[in-house]
């Protein structure tokens, strides 16, 4: 049975307004687009068909950049080199006459050289990726310029690749015995490739791996804490983008039947990035829009400007460059979001399959069992002792509060407990095993789940998707399953679990809203739902009540009590005494890095050292 949950049972004014205009069905719009693509070669002149062929080829490369740059936040100027790798592989193999026997069979068909090109590209991408992807921000784009230039000069100087004159006489692609040697014929192949690439990219982004990829930009720390291997996710999109570029190069070589180094230089690589950014780097359709805008604009400027201004200068470059800057001044997100507003397409909310099999759960430790233990933890930063000989423990079925004035070292202690930081001396044991030496992912897998003091969520993703990231480690379908939709059964189970946790924390009315549109207090609650979605045995909550209104605090207390009754161990770092004292079982008080008191809430409230710590100051 499939139940479509209403996005908002009582439509608020804003969401009602969102639905009011007569929206077009997305299938209808897509259908019209596909029919247009199908009939275009029959009605347009060869000139325009060629233009569309180029748009298709460029869009495929730009699509890789949407995934890599727009979604994943990794910038590459070197995609043209991957296009060249695809084009030169097939050109060299299909035209060579003196290949050794073990290799010669590959050159027999372009389809075999496509496979060869993809394999070579993947290998090169893995090597380049392992060199550069670990680096922060700006090294990658600069590194990609370097390899783009190097490969370009290599194509131009290697005599076996024809030097600057290039390789000619490349055979056409044959499909079902028919040689695609005409622009109109290869048109269908190019656009079929592009549409398949768009479909698989779209599928990928809407999956477990896709959520991990979408978390790369601005959510890496959070994603790691939820068990996502972000380094691997970066490599995945880097290789996919390279493979899309390679396929584009293969098609290009067999369309032109000739290759030389010019179209694979770093300037063209820059242009691909332009296409993605101008089209809308965050959107799959931005690739087509960007490729179209730039290709048509350049063609148009090249035809028009010399008539207006004479042919003494490269006017199209000047106008093109300035236009690009102006577009970015006006629309940082690119053109696609603007187009999207013009064609109001209805977006169907995700469906939750309530009949999906629940995800496997871990067996919670018996109540009273020691879950987390800090033994004499000391953490020094230079001369500053942030944590001094701190010891505490958390047991199954209990809530422990760690309190203290601002700057007392609670956040540092939290980092030691969650394995983000390693103590200078002392140790932290989780389920009897030391936390030190394990990364966030391994700790998450062991059953510790956390929230963040400064909320870390992906503001443009829905609440449901944000929470679903929490279930990353409870599922295992990979990139290929996602691309070809073999992951739907598991995806349904993940979404059902996410929906269950959202209802549990009381955010069901906002399930399909963008996480960024929630109030701060609700965002904190969302983080708890995400942590619960990981099915932990220990919850670490960093200031969960900050910014919450009275009723929200009461609801949060209620939830935490419920979890305690189920056997969950919880550690709360908190300022809000009202919230803490009525809820927790035991309290540890910190000041200036060390523990000044520990005990039941009643005892703590009357402890003179605690009072002094909080009231210190002028007297």
């Amino acid at each position: 049975m499939t139940v479509r949950l209403p996005a908002d049972p009582v439509p608020s004014d804003a969401s009602a307004a969102r639905r009011r205009p007569a929206l077009l069905s997305s299938r209808l719009v897509l259908g019209v687009f596909l029919v247009l693509l199908l009939v275009v070669p029959a009605i347009l002149s060869p000139y325009y068909v060629t233009l569309l062929n180029y748009i298709g080829l460029y869009a495929m490369v730009a699509l890789g950049l949407v995934l890599l740059t727009g979604v994943g936040g990794l910038t590459s100027f070197g995609q043209a080199a991957f296009v060249g790798l695809g084009a030169y592989t097939t050109a060299a193999l299909t035209t060579a006459t003196d290949l050794p026997a073990w290799l010669a069979w590959v050159g027999a068909s372009p389809w075999l050289t496509l496979v060869a090109g993809l394999l070579i590209t993947a290998a090169v991408a893995v090597v380049l990726g392992s060199l550069t992807l670990k680096l922060s921000g700006h090294f990658l784009p600069l590194g990609t310029i370097a390899w783009g230039i190097s490969l370009y000069f290599l194509f131009g100087t290697m005599q076996s690749l024809g030097g600057h004159t290039g390789i000619s006489g490349i055979p056409p692609i044959t499909l079902f015995g028919r040689a695609l040697d005409d622009g109109r014929e290869i048109y269908y192949l190019i656009w079929a490739f592009l549409l398949v690439a768009m479909l698989t990219t779209h599928n990928l982004l809407d999956s477990r791996e896709g959520r991990a990829i979408r978390a790369l930009k601005g959510g890496r720390v959070m994603a790691e804490a939820m068990g996502v291997d972000t380094a691997r996710a970066r490599m995945v999109i880097f290789v996919i983008a390279a493979l899309l570029a390679c396929a584009s190069g293969w098609l290009y070589a067999h369309m032109q039947r000739f290759v030389n180094p010019t179209p694979f230089g770093v300037h063209i690589g820059i242009e691909y990035l332009f296409m993605a950014v101008i089209g809308g780097a965050g959107y799959v359709w931005g690739a087509i829009v960007g490729a179209s805008v730039i290709t048509v604009l350049k063609q148009w400027l090249q035809d028009l400007l010399p008539q207006l201004l004479g042919s003494s200068g490269n006017f199209e470059m000047i106008v093109f460059g300035v236009l690009m800057v102006l577009v970015l001044h006006r629309a940082r997100e690119g053109v696609w979001p603007i187009l999207k507003k013009l064609v109001p397409v209805r977006t169907a909310p995700k469906t939750i399959d309530t009949a999906a099999e629940p995800l496997p759960r871990r067996t919670l430790p018996a109540a009273g069992e020691r879950i987390l233990e800090a033994k004499n933890v000391t953490r020094k930063f230079g001369g500053l002792v942030a944590n001094d000989n701190m010891s505490l423990e958390v047991r199954a079925g209990e809530i422990l509060a760690l309190i203290g004035p601002n700057g007392a070292g609670k956040s540092t202690m939290f980092n030691q407990l969650s394995g983000v930081d390693t103590p200078t001396s002392g140790e932290v044991l989780f389920l009897g095993k030391p936390v030190a030496g394990h990364n966030s992912r391994e700790i998450a897998r062991m059953g510790m789940s956390r929230t963040f003091q400064h909320v870390k969520l992906l503001p443009t993703m829905t609440v449901l998707e944000n929470v679903a990231i929490g279930a990353h480690l409870r599922s295992d379908k990979g990139v290929l399953s996602a691309a070809w939709r073999l992951d739907r059964a598991e995806e349904a189970r993940i979404l059902k679990e996410a929906a269950r946790q959202i209802e549990r924390v009381g955010l069901q009315d906002h399930m399909f809203d963008e996480a960024g549109s929630l109030a701060l207090g609700q965002q904190r609650i969302l983080e708890i739902a995400r942590a619960l979605c990981a099915d932990p045995c220990l919850l670490l909550l960093d200031e969960p009540a900050a910014g919450l209104r009275f009723k929200e605090k009461a609801a949060l207390s209620e939830l935490l009590r419920k979890l305690r009754a189920e056997g969950m161990a919880t550690l709360i770092v908190e300022h809000d005494m009202d919230f803490v004292m009525g809820l927790v079982d035991r309290v540890v008080v910190m000041e200036f890095g060390h523990k000044i008191a520990e005990g039941l809430p009643d005892e703590i409230q009357n402890n003179p050292a605690v009072l002094e710590a909080y009231l210190g100051g002028v007297d």
């Binding site: 090294f139 600069l142 290599l154 990035l273 332009f274 093109f320 460059g321 800057v325």
Partner: protein, 345 residues
């Protein structure tokens, strides 16, 4: 290869390396203060060299008209806003620097027999034309998107690079230019002949680096730029506006670029699009310094210069490949030293 060839190659390498070092310093500075990756640095090099060449050919350098055009735009935006806010003195100052100054410069160019002026006056005029384009460019192109992500700033740089190359072709034509040397003197150092121009390049580079050091260590404006690079919010709270810091930084970068162009024009033939590759080598050096360390970037620049001149002797076809693959071991070393996951903006 014998010793004398090695010495000549070494001399070439160090001369080019000094220029790359200047460019690398400017790139590091611009990135640290504004987060802009200054791809157009190379165009400032070419504009500097070719503006000087045009003057020497006796024509009014076309770049002065670009200065006038950009000045008009800045005046329209800034003086207009200042007038609306009732700040007349500010409006007058904006118009003075952005309207009167370029027009006065154009008038001087048209009236004076620039081709027969002494070389140093020509160099001064060249800088007077090209350098103000830096702050103007920051004002017009970057200030409206100053808070945008690095990617958007990078794309703006690339777009401006493309536009400036296009303008370069329009202004200077497709012909390459080489200007006469600053001095015909040459010195004998053992078996090595050191050309006067090499000495000029090295001395001016050293003086400029020294002057920049003094500027950043001793003056309040220099400290303000450092402060902005260290802590943008803190600097803003002191009244050091990002716009001011940006314009000042671009002024320095344009100055370094144009001066580099003037210095190498007698050594290398400069075309309208030569700048890109020169600036990229500055980038390689800047990357070696991690876009943060000035001394390491300067050393990296010398390394790039030497590698380039020696590889042009041994494997000239692969010269560029060798220089740019130098980045790979550097990146490798850096990636091995980056362990943990960090959040990027």
């Amino acid at each position: 290869m014998d010793m004398s060839i090695a010495l000549i190659l070494g001399q070439d390498g160090i001369t080019n390396g000094a220029i790359y070092a200047l460019l690398a310093l400017a790139l590091v500075l611009v990135f640290a203060v504004t987060r802009v990756i200054f791809i157009q640095q190379g165009e400032f090099v070419a504009y500097g060299a070719l503006t000087l060449a045009m003057m020497q050919a006796g024509t009014v350098p076309a770049t002065v008209w670009l200065l006038v055009a950009m000045g008009v735009l800045v005046t329209v935006f800034d003086a207009g806003a200042a007038l609306r806010a009732g700040r007349h003195r500010r409006a007058a100052a904006v118009a003075g620097w952005n309207l009167i100054y370029p027009l006065a410069l154009a008038a001087i160019m048209a009236m004076l027999p620039v081709a027969s002026l002494p070389l140093l006056v020509q160099v001064f005029l060249t800088l007077a034309i090209v350098v103000p384009m830096g702050p103007q460019m920051y004002r017009l192109m970057y200030q409206p998107v100053a808070s945008a992500p690095v990617l958007i700033l990078l794309i703006v740089s690339v777009a401006l690079h493309i536009a400036m190359v296009g303008l370069g072709l329009l202004f200077f034509g497709a012909e390459g230019q080489r200007t006469p040397a600053f001095s015909d003197a040459s010195f004998e150092l053992g078996t090595l002949m050191v050309s006067g121009q090499t000495v000029w390049v090295l001395v001016v580079s050293a003086l400029l680096i020294g002057a920049l050091y003094q500027f950043f260590e001793r003056t309040l404006y220099g400290k303000a730029l450092r402060a902005t690079a260290i802590n943008r919010v803190g600097a803003q709270l002191m009244g050091i506006s990002p716009a001011l810091a940006g314009k000042l930084t671009f002024f320095l970068a344009a100055f370094i670029g144009a001066l580099s162009g003037v210095l190498i024009a007698p050594i290398t033939t400069i075309y309208y699009d030569t700048g890109f590759l020169i600036a990229l080598k500055g980038f390689v050096a800047a990357i070696i310094g991690g876009l943060a360390s000035y001394p390491i970037a300067a050393l990296g620049a010398l390394l790039v210069g030497l590698l380039e001149s020696f590889s042009s002797f041994w494997a000239s076809a692969y010269k560029e490949v060798i220089v740019f693959t130098l980045i790979i071991p550097v990146l490798l070393w850096r990636s091995l030293n980056t362990g943990h996951v960090e959040e990027e903006e």
